[in-house]
């Protein structure tokens, strides 16, 4: 996964503040958390930064399809085992008689469902990584040996 320093090294490093952030490092952090986009950095759009801009776009490409919480599901890796459906604490709380005991989800309040043998994410705003009181939850990543779920 890409780091803040990797992004920072490709930015102009002038701390011009045109993007609204106080430093280029702050802009790199905002880029990584997808609060800012590359075109918001005015100097990098100039011709002499063309190569850096292309590299930045390449680095940020994997997170392009991410959900609001930064979740990416790789359907090509998913085997549909449903470990994440049962392990997710939100699913357990919202569906104690379905997903919590290993059965199929019985309502639409759960985050994970399996369709056609691949997991899909719903109700992403319920995720514990989202919102003001967010926590660094790993409950869906840990039980997935295929590495089909990732957070960026």
């Amino acid at each position: 996964m890409v780091t803040v320093m990797e992004l920072y090294r490709l930015l102009p490093g002038t701390n011009c503040k045109k993007c609204g952030e106080s430093t280029c490092m702050a802009f790199a952090v905002a880029l990584l958390s997808r609060k800012k986009n590359i075109p918001e950095c005015i100097p990098i759009l100039l011709e002499n930064f063309k190569k850096q801009k292309e590299k930045l776009e390449l680095l940020l490409l994997p997170s392009a399809g991410a959900e609001e919480t930064g979740m990416i599901i790789h359907p090509e890796l998913c085997t549909g085992c449903g470990n994440c459906v049962v392990a997710c604490p939100v699913d357990v709380a919202n569906d104690p008689r379905g997903a919590a005991v290993g059965c199929a989800p019985t309502n639409d309040k759960v985050i994970f469902k399996v369709k056609d043998g691949k997991v899909v994410a719903l109700n992403i705003k319920e995720c514990r990584r989202f919102g003001k009181n967010r926590v660094l939850c790993y409950a869906c990543i840990d039980p997935c040996p295929a590495g089909a779920i990732e957070f960026v």
Partner: protein, 402 residues
């Protein structure tokens, strides 16, 4: 809610979306189940001598081949419903044929001993509700039965295990490689060399009796301590363990006796292999490798591998693909005898078969009963309409023609 015929877990909480008499979407199935339920890419067509023909002629020709054979064999059965299997046993009796199924090179050894009540066993629901220590031995359940861990064993919360995998359950993997199941077991993965299971069992028995084992003493004592503390344990015996100790399988019995709180669960692949084993056991007292000759004779000569090498002169394959699953050394023998293939899809075996008879996909186009890996009877449901005959009807017609 329908039942998935993808593997021997027979998940019965599946939803399907049907559009224009086709399954458009499956919900809650794993990838394996989804592929099975959506049907085959290449549907088998009836043929005689590699030429397209109608199904009536195909059945007549198949009956003629079986009638002319001195020593026919009926093989497959693990992907058929219990009703078709019973019909098959009657057919074998009528023809004095040899009968074997895929358990011959799968979990037959273990299922035979379970049916003879040499091992304690339990249901998968018991495991979900009570089990606290789970041992995956030579089994990669995560890949072979993808919903095993999430639906029955490690992850779900049960009556006595309300905190599920987080606090209440310990999963242990014993395997020759770090499989996907072993990755989930993390701190409790015991890697053994290939064919090292016997040594491991002996060392574990020493550790359980309080002796210092000769093989990796520290790890074995640590494992023995976990197993001794278990209130309700389960050992999932996979093909890795069965193949490794197949010459001396009864070595598992003293180990099971030393672990009174543990149950043995066979990790079956095909969805109704145990159904066939139970049906044949009830009829003859053996689970596979049987020749009907007035009475049922059981001998390793009647396993598919040995029989193909020596004695048979016609082979009826029902819902199996021996050409892709048997050892290469016996494959050429398939070319020397007429093969009749009953299957919904085109397989390697159907491509060389003298007669092919297409059938309906059980659990999708036709219902029936099946037996789960733990011995529970589960009904398959019919999801879509189909003009294809099911296995049972084809076998009944064959019987009539004979």
């Amino acid at each position: 809610m329908v039942t998935c015929p993808g593997c021997a877990l027979l998940c019965d909480d599946i939803e399907v979306v049907v559009e224009n008499n086709r399954i458009k979407e499956t919900r809650n199935t794993c990838r394996r189940g989804a592929a099975r339920m959506k049907g085959c890419v290449n549907r088998l067509a009836p043929s005689v001598a590699q030429k397209p023909d109608d199904i009536e002629n195909a059945i007549k020709k198949a009956a003629a081949i079986l009638q002319n054979a001195k020593s026919p064999m009926l093989f497959g059965w693990s992907n058929s419903t219990c009703e078709a299997q019973l019909e098959g046993i009657q057919l074998a009796k009528k023809m004095s044929a040899i009968m074997d199924d895929t358990s011959s090179f799968c979990q037959g050894l273990l299922i035979e001993r379970i049916l003879q009540k040499k091992f304690r066993t339990c249901t998968l629901d018991d495991i979900r509700n009570k089990a606290d220590v789970l041992v995956y031995w030579g089994s990669d359940a995560q890949d072979s039965q993808p919903r095993h861990l999430s639906r029955f064993s490690y992850f779900p919360r049960g009556e006595l295990r309300q905190r599920g995998y987080e606090e209440d359950r310990i999963a242990i993997a014993i395997d020759v490689r770090e499989s996907n199941t072993a990755k989930i077991c993390k701190g409790h993965f015991y890697r053994i060399p290939p064919k090292g299971d016997r040594e491991f069992i002996l060392a574990l028995m020493d550790a359980l009796s309080g002796k210092v084992p000769a093989y990796e003493p520290k790890k074995m004592l640590e494992l023995a301590a976990i197993l001794k503390k278990a209130e309700f344990g389960a050992i999932f015996v996979g093909l890795g363990l069965t193949y490794s100790i197949k010459d001396d399988f009864d070595i598992l019995i003293p180990l099971a006796d030393k672990l009174p709180n543990f149950n043995i669960m066979p990790m079956v692949g095909h969805y109704n292999m145990r159904g066939f084993n139970e049906a044949l056991f009830k009829e003859t007292g053996f689970v596979n490798r049987v020749k009907f000759d007035g009475k049922a004779i059981h001998d390793s000569r009647y396993s598919i591998v040995e029989a193909l090498r020596k004695s048979i002169d016609a082979l009826l394959v029902v819902g199996s693909d021996p050409l892709s699953s048997l050892p290469r050394s016996v494959i050429p023998h398939l070319a020397n005898i007429p093969v009749i293939c009953i299957d919904p899809c085109v397989t390697l075996t159907s491509k060389i078969a003298a007669v092919t008879i297409p059938c309906a996909v059980s659990g999708v186009e036709t219902g029936g009963s099946t037996v789960r890996m733990d011995g529970k009877r589960v009904e398959l449901s019919k999801c879509i309409e189909s003009n294809y005959l099911n296995d049972k009807e084809i076998l009944a017609r064959l019987m009539e023609a004979l």
